[in-house]
Amino acid sequence: MKQRHFVEGLSNGQQLMAAIAQAENRAAPEKNWILVEGDPGFGKSRATTRAAVQKDARFVRAKAGWTPHWALADLADVLSIPRRHRTEDLLRDIVIELMTRPRMLFVDEIDHAARTERVLETLRDITDQTECILVAVGMKSAQGLVKRFPQIFGRITRIVTFGPASFDDVKLMCTELTDVKIADDLIEEMRRRTGGKLREVMDCIARVEAVGRKSRETVTLASWGNRPLLTEDRALASQSVTPLRAVSNG
């Protein structure tokens, strides 16, 4: 496999970057929230971490027991400003810091924060005063949780939903990650079998590549035959073989 660690141009990642660009050029200053949601396995964490690093943003993970003070203390830590005992001092320091050095904020696991209105309101106070962009990342249910609070939901400029990889995404991954030629029918089979989950697709590519390197031909669905494509296929294949000991005992 080629030594690449990130494939640029996947549809989910592109949507996220487009949403950030849209928020950076927004007309209404208070509409500065982006909601990123999706089920696990579709590259949400990878894409948001990468976006945060590339944009020199500050990244914080919401905790299940977050209170406004705890949330502010965590934000103070990632902004490298000292923690204060009083919540109002903490909020003031964070606002001053973000106004003097504007930065994008990423809040992962927003589902935790969205359970209590006070935490979301505290985050809204910060973004309203500083006009910095806040990217809230959560599971598929995050949208429903945030929707309960219209004053917060109104701040969202765009909702980015991370879904299964498309055929074009899988094809792009095959092109970027391996030199072996893979036919479209096998790419479609990989997409269908993996359910568009990126990690699984990468595993498939590694397996197909091993076969393609030996044959030095384009790997098609027909040439692939009954070989196991997924890890679970291998497990099933090994189960179907009758153990030798069982035969001898019988």
Binding site: H5, R46, T49, R50, V53
Partner: protein
């Protein structure tokens, strides 16, 4: 901490030596601050000046008129002022340094602060821009080697896919530290962190 630049300026004026009390009255720090706190802040700033060789302390026991320690500006301090230089502002131990440059090492560091536990491919996946994969890998391992020697990063158990995992155990701040021959330079506090062992390589 009191403003070290203001104290240096104060010492350069007048007859050149002042007690802590003299500095306190010369600075005219706010009335709302307790005297003990003011004294501690001035002493902290004086310590910075002493460390930098810009001011020095004498203890004239014989002089009844000055029962406490006297602080003087040194020739180096006068030259410092003459050149129009300024000490970096200090805010509760963190230096007010300019925002970090967009370098690969800085992006590695930002990725480490976000991920906390990571493998080299994960780190490169988050941080790489236009750099070649080979160069990214070499630089990531070099940087991690230095961080591990300084105790900033620790090595975890190898994962199922065979990649070494690391954990960030000391978050130094937003600025990436720089690796030197036998120490790590923390740009957030300008402190040096010596390497524990130099022979241990990744």
């Amino acid at each position: 901490m009191a403003d070290a630049n203001a104290i240096l300026l104060l010492l350069s004026k007048g007859h050149g030596s002042l007690t802590v009390g003299g500095i306190l009255s010369g600075l005219g720090m706010g009335e709302h601050v307790a005297k003990r706190t003011k004294r501690a802040r001035v002493l902290a700033a004086l310590a910075v000046l002493q460390r930098g060789g810009l001011a020095e302390l004498t203890w004239p026991k014989e002089d009844k008129a000055h029962p406490g320690a006297l602080f003087h500006i040194t020739p180096a301090g006068r030259a410092f002022l003459k050149d129009g230089k300024k000490l970096p502002c200090c805010r509760r131990g963190k230096l007010d340094v300019p925002p970090p440059a967009d370098t690969l090492q800085q992006r590695f560091w930002s990725a480490m602060r976000i991920l906390r536990k990571f493998t080299v491919p994960e780190l490169i996946g988050a941080a790489a821009k236009d750099e070649s994969p080979r160069s990214c890998r070499t630089r990531a391992y070099k940087f991690l080697d230095a961080l591990r020697s300084a105790g900033v990063v620790t090595e975890l158990r190898v994962r199922g896919d065979g990649f070494k995992r690391f954990a960030l155990v000391r978050d130094l701040g937003p600025h990436a530290p720089a690796a030197r021959a036998d120490h790590l330079l923390d740009h957030n506090t300008r402190e040096t962190i010596p390497f524990a062992t130099t022979e241990a390589k990744l």
